[in-house]
């Protein structure tokens, strides 16, 4: 008991000492370099999605997403989740992407957290950047 109390007091002293010494509260701050790094990470995935979208999925029939959706147009990612009338339920964008993969592309659906699925959505959203969210819109 006495030992525990000593530890608690010591920890409080260390925290106090760091605060007084002016060291940064690391969880609360990031700088331009961090932002640049995170943007690079994001754009790497967007680029991966761009390639997958333009014939990089390896499906046997060679049909690619961009054949119907140049620059990701006419996907309307801002409208998801929405009631997809043809599927009869409210779905997220990934579920509609899987419908396209299974039907016109004649390939197997991807897990919704698959890296390629994430990349496809990153590309689609990136090409639609700046458009206001409109979940549920038809």
């Amino acid at each position: 008991m006495k030992f525990n109390k000593t530890v608690s007091v010591s920890a409080a002293f260390i925290v106090l000492a760091l605060g007084v010494s002016g060291l940064p509260a690391v969880a609360e701050e990031f700088d331009e370099m961090d932002i640049e790094h995170w943007q690079e990470e994001y754009m790497t995935v967007v680029d991966r999605g761009d390639k997958a979208f333009h014939g990089g999925l390896g499906n046997e029939n060679t049909v690619s997403c961009d054949q119907c959706h140049p620059n990701g147009a006419n996907i309307h990612p801002e409208t998801y989740p929405k009631f997809q009338t043809q599927l009869g339920k409210v779905v997220v964008l990934g579920e509609m992407i899987n419908w396209c993969i299974m039907n016109p592309l004649e390939a197997d659906a991807l897990p919704l957290d698959d890296a390629v699925m994430v990349a496809l959505q990153a590309y689609i959203h990136h090409e639609r950047r700046g458009v206001a969210l409109a979940p549920g819109k038809h």
Partner: protein, 357 residues
């Protein structure tokens, strides 16, 4: 429209209605200079036959063309001929061109062909021309002068640079949204040929020009565009009545520039979004255009189609046959001096499914 031409048109229209589940386009030319004979022609375009391997082709695109051929064969009165508006193939492979031509061989009647970029850039049109002949030509039919141009050429230097393969060059142009793609053009040589060809035609002869790309500028990033469009339009300007019919865009376009009416053909393969659906770049959709419905991908043939054209005054009326959608007629209005959608030109008559965003 004369009673005779209206009768023929309605007759043909009812045949189309009976076959309206199918995607082709037919054109009625109920007028020809110095001729009392009405005539019709069908207009099928953009089938993008895609070879997978061996004897396997993408079934969806095959079905679109097969359906168009079947429907064209049901037309009554029989069209005098059929136009094919380009992009038989997806990647210009001989297998694709031959497979497409085999399907098209089922058509009853002569077919005139237009070169598309998907037919061209693998071997610069060599195989297509071996099978089908010249890529630009003209002919007269019952008082109308028809001209076919190869409008999908681009800069000579780019086409003839050192490529790792013809297929590599094709893939630069076949991908619609490729930032490395080059602008389409008719080019100096063909424009000189066109000038010489038109010099022999009297100015009151109706002229119908076929190109694959629009001979007007709509959206450069997707090559809904011909770089020297204005120079071609200038050659057509002296004529009383000119119509330009083009493919490539896989959607309905309507426009009037001076004496020239413009109409786009639907594809038999798949639809493309209107350029405004891509919000990162500006585009110029002609104001007269009443947009086709947003496609429902769960209906394979939705937003594909074909046209039936009626030239009752020497101008073109286009009848769009649209599977899974109500058919549309974009007719030349002699009072207004431009084409109008006979049912939907008024905004109030449009449906929510036509709203593109």
């Amino acid at each position: 429209m004369s009673n005779s031409s209206r009768r023929n048109f309605l007759k043909a229209g009812s045949a189309m209605l009976a076959a309206s589940a199918l995607p082709i386009s037919v054109v009625e030319l109920a007028f020809g200079k110095g001729s009392d004979e009405n005539f019709t022609f069908a207009y099928i375009s953009d089938s993008h036959i895609t070879h997978i391997k061996g004897n396997k082709f993408v079934n969806n695109w095959d079905r679109g063309l097969i359906r168009a051929v079947a429907e064209a064969n049901l037309l009554d009165p029989r069209p005098d001929f059929i136009f094919y508006g380009g992009d038989i193939a997806q990647l210009g492979k001989p297998e694709e061109i031959d497979h497409g031509l085999e399907i098209l061989s089922g058509l009853r009647g002569d077919v005139h062909y237009v070169m598309g970029e998907h037919d061209y850039y693998t071997d610069l049109g060599e195989y297509w021309q071996k099978q089908l002949g010249p890529d630009h030509y003209s002919f007269d039919h019952k008082g109308v002068h028809f001209v076919v141009l190869n409008s999908i050429l681009t800069y000579e230097k780019w086409m003839h640079q050192k490529w790792e393969s013809g297929m590599h060059r094709m893939k630069q142009m076949a991908r619609l949204d490729n930032p490395n793609g080059q602008p389409f053009m008719v080019g100096d040589a063909q424009r000189q040929w066109l000038k010489a060809d038109l010099d022999k035609v009297s100015k009151d002869t109706p002229v119908v020009v076929f190109s694959h790309s629009p001979l007007q500028k709509i959206f450069k990033a997707w090559n809904f565009w011909t770089e020297d469009a204005e120079q071609v339009q200038a050659l057509l300007k002296p004529f009383d009545k000119v119509t330009v019919l083009y493919g490539h865009v896989h959607q309905i376009h309507t426009n009037q520039i001076g004496n020239i009416s413009f109409h786009a053909a639907m594809a038999t393969a798949w639809p493309w979004p209107y350029p405004a659906a891509y919000t990162q770049k500006e585009s110029l959709l002609p104001k007269l255009t009443v947009e086709m419905n947003r496609a429902d991908p769960f209906f394979e043939r939705d937003a594909t189609g074909w046209q039936f054209i009626n030239m009752h005054t020497g101008n073109v009326d286009v009848n769009y046959t649209l599977p899974d959608n109500a058919n549309r007629v974009v007719a030349y209005d002699t009072k207004l001096g431009h084409p109008v959608d006979t049912r939907l030109q008024d905004n109030a008559d449009r449906t929510p499914a036509q709203t593109h965003y």
